[in-house]
Symmetry: C2
Subunit: 348 residues, 2 copies
């Protein structure tokens, strides 16, 4: 049987590779970066939601298992430049010039973090103590702790603003990014744990800690960690020279708010991968209205792209959690395995 | 290789069976009801979220494909009464007295709909025109349309109350049921489509149309279908003899509300399967704090129960969508297949 091509080595791609190798199926893992692991590793995430494991252990462990696997042929710092053929018999050309064959392909090409400079009125890029959730993850995972970038002091008051680059028609990001609420609850608890005297406020439109995240993150953060939640419409983040000033309207008490903070955190959303147009072009697959890779709408075709033999999993299809990306990666692996199995059946 | 035992024939179990048979793996599908399909079929759901397919077509199609599959041995109106042995070599005894062997097992035992009589102050069981989302699904799927049960009239004003049996510590349901917000947006649009003169109000704590559901359901329901959303704390549903009266507090304008409706719909949540204690006993697996079947907390063990060789997928582990249940079913199938494959390897 020909190997299965997997494009992108984040949680979805790693889980697909691991699942395929576990049933004896060879695969080819192509990653554009020099390091495997996807966003959790490349962006230096701290403790992941909801496992509570450190990204470097949990996703790093997935990387090690795949890197040590003889059935997985890994191509780092590589892109797929040409892709042709039919299910069971695809030809693949990499940016290195290598030519390969594959029986099926799985796109696990992930997302791009929203760049907060695209929401200029909220102060990122203007005030050094306005940071993103990714930067806070890095402060925690590096062991340096939560510090104001401007002068290295421990913040006494932190505001986390939800939906930065999500649910925002003004800047062309109408979707919800699914996991930022829960990640923000988790980060708020991490801050309170490291700095028990620091007050942490979360400004929200809706709190979307769906399913079992409700008690584990939303309730626990309030009841045990005393994180405060304020339903608000934020207008701007400015500075009085000493403190950052968050201005807006508290939509529950219907009055304007002007509140000083030491640090403001943007809970940044998940954009479609900025390379999706080129990926769609190379693989001949369709994109959705917002620019994500289109997947089958029917339950019978979940995980299929518009091109037979090319599957898709994880955040490539829209904002996604790590858990669901891993499950989808395995599901796509199962579908790809069935395809190459049917195209080249073993003797019964 | 020994077959894989799958317990429960809802979306997760059906997708697992289909995935296993697609790679030539035999499986045994045990379903306690006389009909396959799980909640979408047994409860008569209408158009599903987010595929927009009718349940009887989409899930019915999954049932047909499994029922016509010679690799899937189906046992309806059956329960597993005894389960013993080790990975690769389990012994199974059914309620019919049949003894079977299995190499691995997948629990796809689903959930139980919240029973609204457990929230008596919201009028279900007292007033006939207080119904559940499941009943509205049945009105639509039966072709009879949206009618007030008391006298068969078309309602002119409908209230949908979210979080009935969810996020409610008073009645011991602290979790969020994940998909009721989106299902309610969808039902509201269905009502508006059938009855364009009917006013539909949704009373909510938070609207949790996460990910791409945001525009497809929440925004579309407001902008195209003119569904009205009111953030409120509902105290009680009573009657003035002619109309149902919804009483509570509008939490945005901070004032008491007393509003007449023809029909009130409870967006009921997902309880753990009422049989989970017995299921956990038979299979020797642990339950989570809320009574769902415990799954691996680490990313390396997602889809595993506390017992080696026994996997779990779908709403058995907590409130879950059909999409994710299907992906998890396939992921569990992949893990179970890898296990039986490793225990009885084919010659290379």
């Amino acid at each position: 049987m020909k190997p299965v091509l997997i494009v992108g080595a984040g949680p979805a791609g790693l889980s697909a590779a691991q699942a395929l190798s576990a049933v004896g199926q060879r695969c080819i893992l192509v990653e554009k970066e020099a390091t495997l692991g996807g966003a959790p590793i490349l962006s230096g995430y701290a403790k992941l939601v909801p496992s509570g494991e450190w990204a470097k252990d949990a996703i790093g462990g997935m990387v090690s298992r795949v890197e040590g696997n003889s059935l997985v042929s890994i191509h780092k710092s590589s892109r797929v430049e040409e892709f042709s053929g039919a299910p069971g018999d695809f030809k693949v050309r990499l940016s290195s010039g290598k030519n390969l064959e594959a029986g099926a392909a799985i796109l696990t090409t992930g997302f791009t973090h929203f760049d907060s400079v695209n929401k200029p009125e909220w102060g990122f890029g203007t005030f050094p103590d306005v940071v993103t959730t990714t930067q806070v993850e890095q402060m925690i995972s590096s062991g340096k702790g939560i510090r104001c970038p401007s002068d290295g002091r421990k913040p006494q008051r932190v505001a986390i603003l939800l939906c930065v680059g999500s649910r925002d028609r003004q800047i062309g990001r109408e979707w919800c990014s699914k996991i930022c609420c829960t990640v923000s609850c988790n980060i708020a608890m991490e801050i309170r744990e490291e700095l028990p005297d620091c007050h942490v406020y979360i400004y929200y439109m809706d709190i979307r800690t769906y399913g079992l995240y409700e008690t584990k993150y939303y309730w626990q953060s309030q009841e045990e960690f005393k994180v405060k939640y304020i339903k608000a419409r934020i207008a701007e983040v400015t500075s009085n020279g000493e403190k950052l000033i968050v201005k807006g309207e508290d939509t529950l008490v219907k009055r304007p708010i002007t509140i000083p903070f030491d640090m403001v955190v943007h809970a940044i959303g998940m954009d479609p991968n900025v390379e999706n147009k080129s990926i769609a072009g190379v693989f001949g697959v369709k994109l959705q209205e917002h620019g994500h890779i289109a997947k089958g709408q029917s339950y019978a075709s979940l995980g299929e792209t518009s091109r037979p033999g090319v599957f898709v999993a994880g955040a490539a299809t829209g904002p996604e959690t790590i858990d669901d990306s891993i499950a989808q990666g395995k599901a796509a692996a199962m579908a790809a395995f069935a395809l190459v199995h049917q195209k080249a059946p073993v003797a019964a």
